[in-house]
Amino acid sequence: MTGHIARIRTTRLIVGGRDITVTAAFVSLIVLLVAVAALTSDTFLTQTNLTNLLKQMVTTGLLAFGMLVVILTGGIDLSVGSMVAFSGILTAGLVTGLPIPVAMIIGVLSGVGFGLINGVLVSRFGLAAFVVTLASLTTIRGLAFVYSEVPIAPEDPAFFTLGSAMAGPIPVSTLIMLAVFAAGGVFLTRTPAGRSIVAIGGNAETVRLAGINVPRHVTLAYTISGACAGLAGVILASRVGIAQPSVGVAFELDAIAACVIGGASLAGGRGSTRATFGGVLVLVLINNLLNLYGVQSFWQQVLKGLIIIAVILVQRTNRVRG
């Protein structure tokens, strides 16, 4: 809030392709969480639990990456949860008539389409991202229910493959999410489009005068977010084995939290894929730990909020010192 902090903060960025936001303190924090978990719970290091962890991070991870891209432009995408629901129910509805991969691709494309619309409204019409995506959150959720009020459970067991297949000890869905992060990291740090997106969040006018098409890149960012949400929706439906139009409420909040825990600035221009991935890890670890300790559900919520505040306090202290 204060200018002082703001000024110092801006010195931490994706710098010339090197990602320096993943501070030592942040890494230590994650290591600490893992160490505490491993030492205090017999279950934590079991194969089952680790696989669990890997599976749990898929949805939040995919959404967080898409959210990061949007946040970098200085925007926000509140509609991802609804897109998850829509893409899932659409895919499940289509598998009766279409080959599964085709249905799944159409599911992802529905996210791409919604993202495109969000992006155009924000960039070409100059509307505030918060309200545009809030409105599309409502509209897309409504459309999911209009498409099917009741959940759809495809019969064909092949529908479950994407969500439940394992590549050795690692779920295929986790690998997909990791691949998105890896490709996303390269995109944001090494391609002109990625750098433009980061730059737009820093100062859109400067970028425009550098001859870069700002609206197109902003639209691209929302489209990427939509694609990630579409993919997350398909994977989720496949994992659960049934698609519900009501799924995904408040998913956007976890995605945003992951970005910010990873040090992204909601004003745009600052944030990194690695640190966002760290943010996803922190969130998933918190949930897992509270579960393993058998903390009662409502107290879990109380603690989760407090831990998130503690984590960003640690993050911030470190940043100001650095």
Partner: protein
């Protein structure tokens, strides 16, 4: 009130930028501080303003040692500061900007707006800036007017020390005269005025004493009567500058840019001119005459309402070989949070690729070359956020970005604003070199000497219209000014 700095040191992280500065200012004195970009002037001023706590050293006011903990502290002691970077809140009225934190209140604690506007009016009048309406939104004023509001704001209440960091950088003509008159009045009232400027002519005219700061150390203390501009420049730069403006070039070749009848409603009208290869054309005008708007329009940053020759978008202009160094680097020239590297490479990202990826090594090489060529300080700044550079070096970074694009037509809007003399000379020389290689240059400037010295031809704008087209060799400063204010014979 006398002010004394003793052994002031300041570090940012591991880097010390002030290495023990001693400075004395007496009441009723205009103390000028001059120095190259990045010498540490603004840092010194932030310390005086209480906005930055010195790493070591002491500040004495009337002989008594004081510790300024906050800007509020300094304010309470009568030390007022106008910073180099504008800090107006655009969304508030001028009145609110002026009286922020000190509103007149009625019984019941509510702000008395009529009284507030009256006081604001008074403040502006007493500063000699009566042309500004206190009721309008500050964001609607031109940069020059905003700067005047900043100055007026510093005058509220009892002022003992007024610190001005490059106040004249955005002022010209009568505005500048008002400022000088104000400073002289304050001096008579016994106020100590600390004045930072790169315009040495002003310094010679105004100052009672001059300190020269170089690389964080005071290397000379003198008076206008005992020195000369050339000597000051030599001290600042650490070398002698033989000639400020390069010699004349060959006559210009083919036409590179042809503008005819260009208009944009409410801003400028019926502008026609052409730029030819190898030519440097100056564009002078009073603040608000519409020069910047016209340039932005030519570059496609703003649509024209009528006329030919302007581009439809910056992308199109760039593709045609244009480059525009805008006047407000903070708002439209730089991405302060990104690195110098990213900033300088911004306009050429697409050209320098290996497959779909940015050619990182090549990009770094090119940018480093440009940093060396323009001697952007500190020299190894490629991975620093550009916002951490001093003002003048930021300006060079903007220039570097556009030079990297290898333009055929270069439009420079106030490119030497806030740039020190030595660097200016470098910039003039560089622009001259480029012109010799066939570049066409449009140099927008509010500095008459510069307009006359660095160009082949001078266009003059007045109230949105072209009011003169003069040959630099034959015209005079007076003639240009006469065209600008509409009193040409």
């Amino acid at each position: 009130m006398s002010l004394e700095l003793r052994g002031v040191r300041q570090s940012y992280g591991d880097v010390e930028v002030l290495h023990g500065v001693d400075l004395t200012g007496r009441p009723g004195e205009v103390l000028a501080v001059v120095g190259a970009n990045g010498a540490g002037k603004s840092t010194l001023i932030r310390i005086l303003a209480g906005a930055q706590r010195m790493t070591s050293g002491e500040l004495r006011i009337d002989g008594e040692r004081v510790d300024l903990r906050s800007p509020h502290d300094a304010h309470a002691r009568g030390i007022r500061t106008v910073y180099q970077e504008l800090s107006i809140v655009g969304g508030l009225s001028v009145t609110e900007n002026l009286l922020m934190g000190a509103f007149p209140r009625r019984r019941g604690g509510l702000i008395d707006w009529p009284e507030a506007h009256r006081r604001a009016r008074e403040l502006l009048d007493s500063a000699g800036f009566g042309a500004i309406d206190p009721r309008v939104l500050a964001g609607r004023l031109s940069v020059a007017r905003q700067q005047m509001v900043e100055i007026a704001k510093a005058l509220a209440g009892e002022v003992k020390v007024l610190v001005l960091d490059e106040p004249s950088a955005v002022l010209a003509g009568s505005d500048l005269e008002s400022l000088f008159a104000l400073i002289r009045r304050l001096r008579e009232r016994g106020v100590l005025v600390v004045y930072v400027s790169h315009r040495l002519a002003e310094v010679m005219e105004l100052a009672d004493s001059i300190v020269v700061i170089k690389d964080g150390l005071i290397i000379a203390t003198t008076e206008p009567a005992k020195t000369s501009e050339a000597e000051l420049i030599g001290l600042m730069a650490g070398r002698r500058l033989e000639q400020i403006y390069p010699a004349r070039r060959e006559p210009p070749a083919e036409t590179r840019l042809e503008i005819s009848g260009l208009s944009r409603r409410g801003e400028f009208e019926d502008i026609s001119f052409e730029l030819r290869a190898g030519e440097i054309v100056g564009l002078f005008g009073l603040v608000g005459s519409g020069r910047s708007e016209m340039a932005r329009c030519v570059f496609g940053a703003e649509p024209a309402t009528k006329g030919n020759g302007a581009y439809r978008s910056p992308a199109e202009a760039i593709a045609a070989g244009l480059a525009l160094v805008t006047e407000d680097r903070k708002r439209s020239g730089l991405i302060l949070g990104m690195t110098v590297l990213d900033n300088i490479a911004l306009a050429t990202m697409r050209e320098n690729r290996r497959g779909p990826l940015i050619d990182a090594a090549g990009r770094r090489r090119r940018v480093t070359e440009m940093i060396d060529r323009l001697s952007i300080q500190p020299g190894r700044c490629a991975t620093m956020p550009v916002g951490a550079l001093s003002g003048g070096n930021q300006q060079k970074a903007v220039l570097a970005k556009w030079l990297l694009a290898g333009p055929r037509v270069l439009i420079l809007d106030e490119p030497t604003r806030g740039v020190d003399m030595a660097t200016r000379v470098d910039i003039y020389r560089m622009v001259d070199d480029l012109a010799r290689q066939g570049l066409a240059v449009l140099l927008i400037s509010s500095d008459l000497t510069e307009v006359l010295g660095a160009t082949d031809r001078v266009l003059v704008m007045r109230e949105g219209r072209l009011a003169g087209d003069l040959r630099s060799e034959t015209t005079t400063e007076d003639e240009i000014l006469a065209h600008a204010i509409g009193q040409a014979a």
